[in-house]
């Protein structure tokens, strides 16, 4: 399997030097947002990254794209280590990966028209002539289901779903091979959400994209993702092919996420369960070293184990 994007033992510590007294006394408030996380995105696949709000998903995404300083660990793009590249050296990798955010409004410069927004990547990378640029912009708009009547509008003159399509068109302008989508559908209603997901699926087939799709809901990923990585409090707690996650969840946190999916059949409906940290802490799976093997080890007895083919979980080993 060809890995296009890989995070290896990546950590992020946010240190706050909020005010001048902190600054003078070198007194820092450290917060570990991402703790020794590894996962990889395979070529032309969709990796779903799921976890509750604050679990560090966006932080991982930003680090993967080198948009945020990495405290520890390494990032690989097409097997090249980009962790320590400077901005100039990064520029050629920038074309390879693009990002789409949740908030479609603040993701677009409110002072620019749609066509200017889509064309800007070409200006940055000095690609194509002016005429070509405009044609490509219209092509891209059509690709995401909009048309050329949108070119001279401003972002506020579009609906949320339309704006998200523009964000996607802009992301695709440079023909990236990797797309990071950070909760691109969370702000959209169910119907538009489905449209945008279908669009991403189509584009993935058509352009051979590899997508890192971030969400806090598992059901969004069911049809879209090939593999799912579950994050909890800055750590990866489970990782498996999508069917495995739904059929045989092992970590208590993954189970609670599955329970949180709204059920269609009323007889299956339970009272909505909220994520209970005590419950999770006290139900960390335990395995015997004879049955499984450590993939990596944190403390003497806690680590990442492979319980099944390509199914990994954070567990205690006795």
């Amino acid at each position: 399997m060809n890995k296009v994007l890989e995070l290896k033992n990546v950590s992020k510590i946010y240190s706050e030097t909020k005010n001048i007294t902190n600054f003078l006394s070198k007194n820092e408030d450290n917060f570990v947002a991402v703790d020794n996380v590894s996962f990889s995105l395979e070529s032309k696949k969709v990796l779903g990254l799921v976890g509750e709000s604050g679990s560090g998903k966006s932080t991982c995404a930003l680090m993967a794209m080198k948009l945020l300083d990495i405290t520890e660990g390494e990032i690989f793009v097409n097997n090249n280590n980009i962790t320590n590249l400077n901005l100039q050296e990064l520029k050629k990798y920038r074309k390879e990966m693009q990002i789409v955010f949740q908030d479609s409004y603040s993701s677009l410069d409110p002072m620019m028209t749609i066509s200017k927004i889509i064309i800007e990547p070409f200006i940055i990378h000095k690609l194509h002539s002016t005429n070509e640029r405009n044609e490509i912009a219209i092509d891209l708009l059509e690709k995401v289901g909009l048309n050329k009547t949108y070119t001279n509008r401003y972002p506020h003159e579009l609906s949320g779903g339309e704006r998200q399509r523009v964000s996607i068109a802009r992301a695709l302008a440079l023909k990236p091979s990797i797309l990071v989508a950070d909760e691109p559908t969370s702000a959209l209603d169910v119907c538009v959400k489905a449209q945008v997901i279908n669009l991403l699926q189509d584009l993935q087939d058509e352009m051979g994209l590899s997508i890192l799709f971030i969400s806090h809901e598992l059901n969004v990923l069911r049809s879209l993702a090939d593999n799912i990585t579950v994050m909890y409090r800055g750590r990866v707690v489970e990782e498996a092919p999508t069917e495995q996650i739904f059929a045989n969840p092992i970590h208590p946190y993954t189970k609670s996420l599955l329970d949180a999916i709204p059920k269609l059949d009323p007889s299956l409906r339970k009272r909505r369960t909220f994520i209970d940290d005590n419950y999770i802490q006290s139900n960390i799976p335990i395995f015997n070293l004879n049955d499984v093997k450590f993939v990596s080890k944190d403390h003497s007895d806690i680590g990442f184990v492979e319980v099944d083919n390509n199914h990994f979980v954070e567990a205690k080993v006795t």
């Binding site: 920038r94 990002i99 955010f101 409110p110 401003y154």
Partner: protein
């Protein structure tokens, strides 16, 4: 657009009359009158004669309408404290030093403040940021008369470079203008820093970085333009505000400007002057906000005034 402008102008007229009534009532609600000298009380008959001469014996509402009728014909009355000239002549005379002082204070302070705020935002949480924020905090919290005194101490008393007070020659302008520039510098630095930081934290800036646009181009092509929108609405009215409210600096440096008349007109119950000065400020503020809103609308594609189709 035209309709919007007409609406705004009408609301300015309304504000003007509303404020005029308010000021008139408050002015007369303060006990005492203009012709009650403490040291040399007038006889009752003499006082009645003077009151009658100035129309102060009539009911308040009559006085109000008479005065406002005059105002509509640009007759703002005669100041009691200087009966040899009209209110308009007095304001016209005292206005010049105030305008030079306030205007150049803002024109010097604002660009410096904006530049400082910009640098602080780009280099946030660096030592430069902290120094800038310390300076602007000082500028905002230390009263302007303390700044004035320090300047006088340093440059007039110790170094003996500049005169401590007066206004006649440009050399005497330097210290008051410097003292005066401190406030706009401090406020503009603050607002600019927070507006720029706000924009820098927007996802679209992150997207631009992801596209490979350099920080410098992100700043000049996108961030400044987007930050200008909120800043315009704050800065323009503030510009007028600072350009008029120079009372303390004028007092410290004995500048013969309008500032002194604000105080004396209230102290001496100089009704025509008090009323005129306050109405003048009202009008200036109204127009400052009006112009700020127009510029805001021109800059901001989200607001196409009166363009109902798109709202």
């Amino acid at each position: 657009m035209i309709r919007y402008i007409i609406n705004r102008l009408l609301s300015i007229v309304f504000t003007f009359f509303f404020i005029s009534i308010l000021v008139f009532i408050l002015m007369h609600a303060i006990p005492g009158g203009p012709f009650d000298p403490v040291d040399m009380p007038l006889s009752d008959s003499a006082k009645a004669k003077i009151l009658k001469q100035y129309g102060l014996d009539q009911p308040l509402y009559v006085q109000y309408f008479k005065y406002m009728w005059g105002v509509l014909q640009f007759d703002f009355g005669i100041p009691y404290q200087s009966p040899g000239e009209t209110v308009l002549e007095l304001i016209g005379r005292a206005w010049v030093p105030s305008l030079i002082l306030g205007g150049s204070g803002v024109l010097i302070g604002a660009p410096i403040g904006i530049a400082l705020g910009l640098i602080a935002a780009i280099k946030r949480n660096s030592i430069i940021d902290y120094i800038t924020s310390a300076i602007s905090t000082l500028g905002l919290t230390v009263p302007v008369f303390v700044i004035s005194m320090l300047l006088i101490l340093l440059f007039s008393v110790w170094l003996e470079w500049l005169p401590a007070s007066g206004w006649g020659e440009p050399k005497k302008w330097i210290l008051p203008i410097t003292a005066y520039a401190a406030i706009p510098m401090a406020t503009y630095a603050r607002y600019t820093r927070s507006a720029i930081l706000d924009t820098l934290n927007k996802p679209f800036v992150t997207v631009l970085r992801a596209k490979g646009l350099s920080e410098r181009k992100i700043l000049f092509r996108h961030v400044i333009k987007n930050s200008a929108i909120p800043l315009v609405t704050v800065f323009l009215p503030m510009f007028i505000g600072t350009a008029t409210g120079s009372i303390f600096v004028e007092a410290m440096f004995r500048v013969p400007g309008l500032g002194a008349y604000f105080v004396s007109s209230i102290e001496n119950k100089d009704y025509p002057l008090e009323m005129s000065l306050l109405l003048m400020i009202t009008v200036m503020f109204c127009f400052a906000y009006f112009i700020a809103d127009l510029i805001y609308a021109l800059l901001n594609p989200r607001i196409r005034l009166g363009d109902k189709k798109k709202q």
